[in-house]
């Protein structure tokens, strides 16, 4: 396990302060976290506790104030960004799944997924082939030519998971991915994420409020007052 953790995500003493002076607000006050490849962990905590902030730091869209983040061997943040091209980092190393699918409305399902490898410079045909493989794995390949607006909510969410996975990123960040779904669909999404994590050796962090899915995690990070606390989860289902 220790060896595996070396390859996953490691966060140490991460701090984030919003604003300056009197109005400054410490959203993260030294967060420690580790997620191994193939593992799906839950990140829970009350509203305003800093979950989204942590995800944004990890996703390299806001800059932490201090601490250290590593992705596998690569140090991406150590009291400052260690990677020059954060855009490429997001594109190649991090997959995002949001509360709503946020698919690009003017691209069909295949191209919504294939866009990422295309952006990374892969040829269209190869990108689409990779997209179709994932759509197949996620059981939406039959809708490959449809436009996003023609899909059901659950199908859209699966397409957005395919998009998050298509560049084979070592990390997937999911912010309340099940919020709009009923419990059956929500569990299906978590099952897929678990399966994908194992299949593609991806470390997945799922931020959630959702009581239905909390028991599915083997490990849970509880965030309170800007600090994390690791807990063992129930790890039910999906065996």
């Amino acid at each position: 396990m220790a060896d595996m953790l070396e390859k996953g995500i490691r966060i140490e003493g991460l701090r984030k302060r919003y604003g300056k002076g009197d109005t400054a607000l410490d959203a993260l006050k030294g967060v420690d976290m580790q997620v191994a490849p193939g593992e799906t962990v839950g990140l829970i905590g009350p509203s305003g506790s800093g979950k989204s902030t942590l995800l944004k730091c990890l996703g390299a869209v806001i800059e932490p104030t201090a601490g250290r983040m590593t992705l596998g061997e690569e140090v991406i943040y150590d009291d400052g960004w260690k990677i020059p091209d954060l855009r490429a980092l997001r594109r190649d190393k991090i997959g995002f799944v949001f509360q709503a699918p946020y698919l690009i409305p003017f691209l069909d399902v295949t191209d919504n997924v294939a866009l990422l490898p295309m952006l990374a410079g892969h040829p269209n045909a190869e990108s689409r082939k990779r997209a179709l493989e994932l759509l197949e794995a996620l059981d939406v390949a039959h809708r490959a030519k449809a436009m996003p607006s023609q899909l059901s909510g659950g199908e859209q969410q699966r397409v957005s998971i395919a998009r998050a996975l298509v560049n084979r990123p070592p990390v997937i960040l999911a912010d309340e991915p099940t919020a709009p779904l009923d419990s059956e669909r929500a569990l299906a999404v978590i099952r897929i994420l678990n399966q994908m994590a194992r299949q593609y050796e991806t470390a997945i962090i799922v931020v959630t409020h959702d009581e239905k899915i909390i028991p599915t995690f083997k490990r849970i990070y509880h965030i309170r007052d800007g600090k994390t606390q690791e807990e063992a989860g129930e790890g039910r289902a999906f065996e």
């Binding site: 869209v61 806001i62 855009r87 594109r91 946020y102 690009i104 003017f106 990422l116």
Partner: protein, 400 residues
Amino acid sequence: MISLAGRDIMHSWGKFVFTGVGLGLLIGVTLTMAGVYRGMVDDAKVLLDNSGADLWVVQQDTLGPYAEPSSLYDDVYRTIRGMPGVDRAANITYLTMQVRQGQRDVRAMIVGVVPGGPGEPGQPGYLIAGRQITRSHYEAVADVATGFKLGERIQIRRNHYAVVGLTRRMVSSGGDPMVFIPLKDAQEAQFLKDNDAIAQQRRRTAGNPAFNRPGTPGLLDAVLASQSINPYINAVLVQVKPGFIPEEVAEPIRRWKRLQVYTRVQMEEILIGKLIATAAKQIGMFLVILAIVSAAIVAFIIYTLTLGKIREIAVLKLIGTRNRTIAGMIMQQALGLGLIGFVVGKIAATFWAPIFPKYVLLELGDALLGFAGVFVICALASVLAIRAALKVDPAEAIGG
């Protein structure tokens, strides 16, 4: 890589096509305005071409006969004929007025020409129907744009004329169609007074002891006779002999006859530089306003479309799309809109140009210039939207 702009346009083509058509009609108007100007320039050139002259001899210190009034005695052409290098010289008068035909009247430029065959300066070069004026009175050759037909009788002032021939594209610099009549009739028409005025003038002359001296019989009659004729014309059109340079023929006439002489090049400068200059500025003003309005429309539409895509743009940025790609997408959409607009505008202008009462000349060069202009305007107009898109924070995609 796929074209994001192209996909977006295909996806919401209705919006693009409707906006493009609206923009296109505006561009059509712009192209037509340019065509109106070109038409005016062309009318001027055609006017000069059709006069068949190499030199225009007019009153001293005037820009006549088209841009300013000019009057000469109708016998100067005889002495001009004797000047070196002069092949043919003919009198001509121009007068714009209403011509009656039955119940309607048409605004036309009455051209008084010396009856004779084609090739004589001032005569219409070619006819599309009928024959040239051969008699010295009461015959007319009309431009088809007047709507007159062969054999019809038209009324100019108090005299009636038979239409014996028809021409095409013979218009004044103001775009009014021409009606050619014999010179003598035209001279009369130009200075014709009504009967009361004539009677009054006679009475006045008879009452003036200087003209009505008891000891000099016949003086009063002679004075009255000279008052009732019009020995004036507006210009003498000159054709130079082959092998002579017009400017070299013009110079001695200027010097010895104390008349103003213009060559073809000078005449064109007067027409385009002076006569239609104000109209050209007017059109230029229209073009500027239309360009600004078009730019505002494109900017507004592209900006609105972009604001509607803020979320998608945030997602695109989050998943690693470069700013250049996003800016390119917006700019291409603006250019796409411009392209639709230009195509619609060009078609519309081509379609409605012939319906305009005055000649509208759509030149390929103007269309190309317009095309380039539309692209520049669209590119500039997309700057606002691009700025808004580049300001979008990828963190917005993650939300709170």
